[in-house]
Amino acid sequence: MPGILHSLPYFVAGWLLLCGLYGLVTSKHLVHAVVCLAILQSSTYMLLLAIGYRVGGAAPIFADISTSKLVVDPVVQALMLTDIVVEAVVVALLLAMVVKAHEKSGSVSPNDLRTLRG
């Protein structure tokens, strides 16, 4: 039992990944699919932040604490910043595609947009 509790944030990250994938697979609306992709991305944030946390560590800003104090991992936070920007722009680009697809064919359901079959 203690083992599970120690890994609980990681399970939450895995659950988010699963939910995002399920949403993508069963989506009936393209905008919903794009948002599910964003949920998938959130699972990586959860994982990264959980990995970098240190109990009793301070935020990695040395403006008001001494340099010898223990801080949480700043590298994962930097990676997350990169990640968030990537997610935001991928979502923007995908939504532009959805808008244009709606304009051209009048529908936003993946079941109707099947000109590329076979």
Binding site: A33, L37, L47, P110, L116, R117
Partner: protein
Amino acid sequence: MTNPAISPALAVAVPLLSAAVLAAVRKWLTRTAMDLLGLLASLATLAITGVLLYGAVVHGASVYWLGGWWPRGSVAIGIAMVIEPIGVSLAMLAALLTSLSLLFSWRFMDAGGKHLHPLMLIFLAAMCGFSLTGDLFNLFVFFELMSIAAFALCGLKTAEPAPLQGSFNFAITNSVAGFVVLTGIALLYAVTGALNMAQIGLSIGHRHDPLVLFACTLIFCGFLTKAAIVPFHLWLPDAHAVAPTPVCVLFSGLMVELGLYAVARIYSAIFAQSFSPHTQALHNLLFAFAATTVLLAGFMCYAEHHLKRMLAFSTVCHAGLMLAALASGGALGLAAMLTYLVAHAFVKGGLFFLSGVLLHNQRSITERELFAKGRGLPWAAALWILGAVGLAAAPPFALLLGEAAAEHAAELHHLEGLSALFVIGGALTSAAVLRVGMHTFFGWGEGALTDRSAEIGELPETTPEDRKLRPYHLIPPALCMLLAIALFADPHWLRILRDAAAAMASQAAYLHTTYTGQNVPLTQSSWREAIPGAVARSILALVLGLLVALSSVFRNTLPRKLRLGAFLERGFRPLREMQSGHPGDYVLWMTMGIAAFGSAAMLLLRR
């Protein structure tokens, strides 16, 4: 520490800067000026990568720490770029193909055409950064940059609904792949506390608990999605069917292959020691995926009647062959994959350029509409037939050398069925290209079959008044075919590639180069004795392909029992259903693929 003569970061910074400048001033430049500047920028990148390659070959591999952040002890605190012949030659290949694509797209696609150049330069920069980096998160960032530039380029022709769907499917599947890779990188970071590939390999050492296995699964499956291996390949035909021709050249020529390069690099730098008691099992697993890819994609390739979709499936088939070559093991397998990769890039690029020529000249891209229309294009016909010969890996193309090396490696490591796979893949793909060539350029037979996916057609990419073929349309494919043949004739690059592959496959050598900047010269023996066997098999593949194509073209004059070609052309219903165009289906196949790979890895590689 030896330092390279010029900074390798220039190979990334110069195209990025040029893209920014071109995007800033595009409102005020004429189309010709933009074409010229774009071409100059990519030629400059070609020159930079050429200088880097010369340095890497003559002075040996070296490392470049960005920002001057040398590692402290064994902890790398900055980002490293490892300048060794394989990565640099992939970057140089990217620059060459981009220059040829920009030449081909001179005054192309007047509507929205001004967006093409900045996006292609950014795509080039991302490919260069991807090939040269030695840091795992940096690899991910350039993977994302490459993907986003690709999504934008794929949707360039917004006047039709199909490009948006193809682009959307492409974007969803590759974004999921990117996040899966990031999850794997995060798991590796958790246990090693490092992002530099050499340092991760050092930290992991021999451990192969479930965590390392799962991280390996995630990273491999993400990059295999980019490499279009079954069941992660479903985005590729959709994307190729709708992207403009110069973009298709880059996708098939290099972007897909970079996924395989990433798998090879990550395996040899990070996981080689960890999997060392189970290398045979891992190779068998990869070979299983590769074999499925070759067979599935080969049959789908023959059943397609839209030229670009057919060539897309042939790319998937050859990606499977490259993975099979890699899976045959060791430094020899790596050398085989890389030889095949470079030669295939040129042949496939040339074929896509020729399909663009047909689209420009005849305003159509489906086999039925193009029937006998290509009769007045002798040069294009000759190059197209050469391309078909190349796909079968017959002499005088350098793909033969890759096939020979792969078969030699398979013999050494007791991997069955590799030669049969090469023959089947080569036969099916060259048969499809030959069939299209016979219908289009010679007008044999009585008309071509068609299928549902070919009905989407494609809007022509140039203005209707201008159908004349100009030199800049024919020079790129001619140059591509010429280079594919020249690589066969020249023995020096093969020796360099063999030695570089030996160095890349050795984790110890990679660690040494990254931490000390010094080259570790390793060699491996040539595979000359395997070449005659490979020649025989490739000629067999070509002959089989020719027979199947002929049985398709002359199907009405053959008795019913012999109409093999027509039967294959109808395709198999389950395979067509798999390629459904629905993004949810594609993600489902990806999930099933990751689950399958992961379960197999846990079961086979655990003990």
